[in-house]
Symmetry: C2
Subunit: 132 residues, 2 copies
Amino acid sequence: MAARMTRQRTAVVETLDELADFRSAQQLHEALRARGESVGLATVYRALQALADASEVDVLRAEDGESLYRRCARSEHHHHLVCRFCGRTVEIDGPTVEAWASKVAAAQGFDDIEHTIELWGTCADCRAAAAK
Amino acid sequence: MAARMTRQRTAVVETLDELADFRSAQQLHEALRARGESVGLATVYRALQALADASEVDVLRAEDGESLYRRCARSEHHHHLVCRFCGRTVEIDGPTVEAWASKVAAAQGFDDIEHTIELWGTCADCRAAAAK
DNA sequence: ATGCGTGCAAACGATTTGCAGCCGG
DNA sequence: CCGGCTGCAAATCGTTTGCACGCAT
């Protein structure tokens, strides 16, 4: 069950921590290469999937369908406010929303409720950069 | 600007209305074939995209990344509670959630806020079918 | 007529997988 | 030593696009 600790796995986790914000597997792959710790793209995907299964990283889908990964501070359920340009992320939670979601769903006779609640926007920095 | 009315576009819209719930382009393509009104898959995609651009259909991403389309009753902003098995859909709106979303985002200095709020569950029928 | 719409097949881009060799425990 | 891990390339899969032809306006 415990994941074997290889050079590439370590590198993936470390780089993920460094980047801090949501990144795609490809961006991560490139960051690894730049960092000198080159790792095969397939391996990056496998590592990320393993981490996701172990709830060590959060995964979410960008508007274009690409998967983005991030090591979040809190492991409990929460949501995100993400900059669609630079990936800058703010963790948020909405107790109100949680309650609302399950109530609505239950009222319609639905089970195994799961909700997708993500906020996308343009962060202050990117707005400034774009304005220039 | 006005979309040209062809046999295939009419067929796509009609079939979409018939299906009522969220369907993938491929499911729709198959439904068209079954209906006798065969339409090229590429055309189905093009028609759906045009409809989406014109806000005639709602689009959302399934958990596996596939795009699902649906002709919604209301054209105003709203969200959905979708059965992950049969696609059965219930339109919902959460005035509370809307307000919460923009408030949180603005507080972090984010602009052009957009939110993804979808509820996924198993509808009563599918739960019964699975239990059998 | 005129040019948007269509079909088909090739092109795409992200992700997955088969397989032979490697290396961590 | 052994089985999980890796790399590479080939395979998937949904979706997009190039191109020659047809049809709605």
